[in-house]
Amino acid sequence: MIRIFKKEEFNKAVVSWLGEFQVIGPKRIGNKGLFYEPIEAMEDLYLGPGITVEPMKKFFLIPSEYLNSSSVPEKNKRLIVGANPCEARGICLLDKVFDSEYKDKFYIDNRQRTTIVGLSCIAADEHCFCTSLGGDPTDTRGMDALLFDQQDNFVVEIITEKGSQLFGALGKELEADEKKEWQKNKAKKKGLLKKKINAPGSLGHIFENEYWKEVSAGCLSCGICTYLCPTCHCFDLVDDERKKLRCYDSCAFSDFTLETSGHNPRPTKKERYRQRVFHKFDYFKTNFGENLCVGCGRCIRSCPVKIDISQVIANAPI
């Protein structure tokens, strides 16, 4: 179902949603960037061009979460407005890990109580490469509804029942000419991205290549790429004052695979960086049929030494 409505009508609807949901959306924090924050007033919500620093995976795979049965789970309904199509598709990939064999009820509960309304990208920068990995700015996977900004009005593509409950009564259905214009705008979006790379089929035969030492030479094992990635899901389980804490962990950390005996199967940056690339572009594909990367470019933007994973796989000596 597709509907069209004026922006003023949308703003009023957001205000009414504030009473029903915990509304979360991109908010500009000074000159530090865009962050997903609780929205208390319409003015806080940023629905312009740009991408958040942290992905919305932190609302499903919570960065610090207690996993005891006695922990009282949050029950309130949440609404995320303004998500990018790339990271919504990332959530679908995470579903394959957490909502499959051994269902993770913490993740699943968070998924069920959240409605995701996306915003089709208004602009893309030089680091975006979703189209090289099967996505694009109009992708609706992972969304309950997808908004298209058309200057004075929004067009919404309603995908699920949850989306219908939010938007079903808003505005009106599109007239024939409005539909044509929307489809024209939609088609233009695919051209927003400048970067195009060929994702490799499989990498197994270059596992032992010196290439991995070269591309990882500058890596500082800092973990930013994994923490900000919409699809990275590695975590640690520790006892925190008698409670079982799940916190983010990173395959880039030097002690990620360090065994108590002192043996470490991935002792240097070469093995660790190779593991990250292989997990995303080989192992996950073997297990689930898709790359574990949506081309959002967050890792590239925030890497302190500008390691660019899109170039790493584009230049891989396959």
Binding site: N68, V97, G204, E208, F235, L237, R242, C251
Partner: protein, 275 residues
């Protein structure tokens, strides 16, 4: 929905001191119905919680054919194991599991079995050895080679008599260097294999031990004629969730916790095993 991360309470009903730093803990679930319904295959493991310390991974070292208790042998090494060694009979711990694929019992039936163990590597193999002995007719000749640095480091000493006397079963014990009153073999496990020359026809080798032992045992077995598909091992890596979600124990596209810990060497070669 069940909380897959929640351990079940179990009580320590007995503790056996195997060596200076290895203890075997015998556990019983607090909930008796759980104790009855808990079923596992040799080679599977559990995530063991010590209150206020954390979790650690241990294989179940007793055979499912002898499951009055659930046995885990623990070497004192780090935070959780040290705390575990301080516990007494009657103390409560937590158990999650069983996890893992276990040994491929159907592929072992009708074969000669060569068990090769080093130090505490005997723990997962003991489960399988006793399972085979309790189902003796299903398996052909059994040869056990068990080595340790010194005689003080040998585990499950109380089992050796029964294994030596079992039908069609040979036990070879070895230590690295000669000691007083030691009448069995002397030499590292790979050297002992070269001396014994076990036959490879219709045989499967099951190997478990420290990485350095595996590194030198593997070429010896290959030279003896065992093909990589017929050499299986059970691996240990740093594990946390045990469920294939935390992403740390993967070898290639397989997780040691979910798709292992039992692998054949043919599999490991295909998977780019980072030994």
């Amino acid at each position: 929905m069940e909380n897959i991360y929640q351990p079940h309470l179990a009580q320590i009903v007995d503790i056996q001191q195997e060596t200076l730093d290895v203890k075997t803990f015998k556990l019983k679930f607090k909930d008796p119905s759980l104790q009855d319904s808990f079923d596992y295959k040799p080679g599977q493991f559990v995530e063991f919680s010590v209150p206020q310390e954390g979790e650690a991974t241990f294989c179940i070292s007793n055979s499912p054919t002898r499951k009055t208790t659930i046995d885990c042998s623990v070497k004192k090494m780090g935070k959780v194991t040290q705390a575990l060694h301080e516990l007494d009979i009657g103390d409560m711990v937590g158990i999650r599991g069983p996890y893992g694929n276990g040994f491929p019992l159907n592929e072992l039936k009708g074969k000669n079995l060569l068990f090769v163990a080093g130090g505490i590597g005997l723990a997962p193999l003991r489960s399988l050895i006793n399972y085979c002995l309790d189902n003796r007719a299903d398996f052909k000749a059994i040869t056990i080679v068990n080595g340790a640095r010194t005689s003080k480091d040998l585990v499950y000493k109380t089992e050796y008599e029964a294994w030596k006397n079992a039908k069609g079963t040979q036990l070879h014990l070895t230590v690295d260097c000669q000691e007083n009153n030691w009448t069995c073999m002397v030499g590292v496990v790979p050297k002992i294999l070269e001396q014994i020359q076990p036959a490879c026809k219709d045989s499967v080798a099951i190997v478990c031990g420290p990485p350095i032992m595996i590194k030198f045992t593997l070429p010896v077995l290959l030279k003896l004629g065992f093909c990589p598909e017929a050499i299986i091992t059970t691996l240990e890596m740093k594990m946390k969730c045990g469920l294939g979600k935390c992403g740390r124990c993967n070898i290639g596209n397989l997780y040691v916790c979910k798709d292992g810990p039992v692998f054949s060497f043919a599999q490991l070669k295909r998977l780019n095993y980072e030994l």
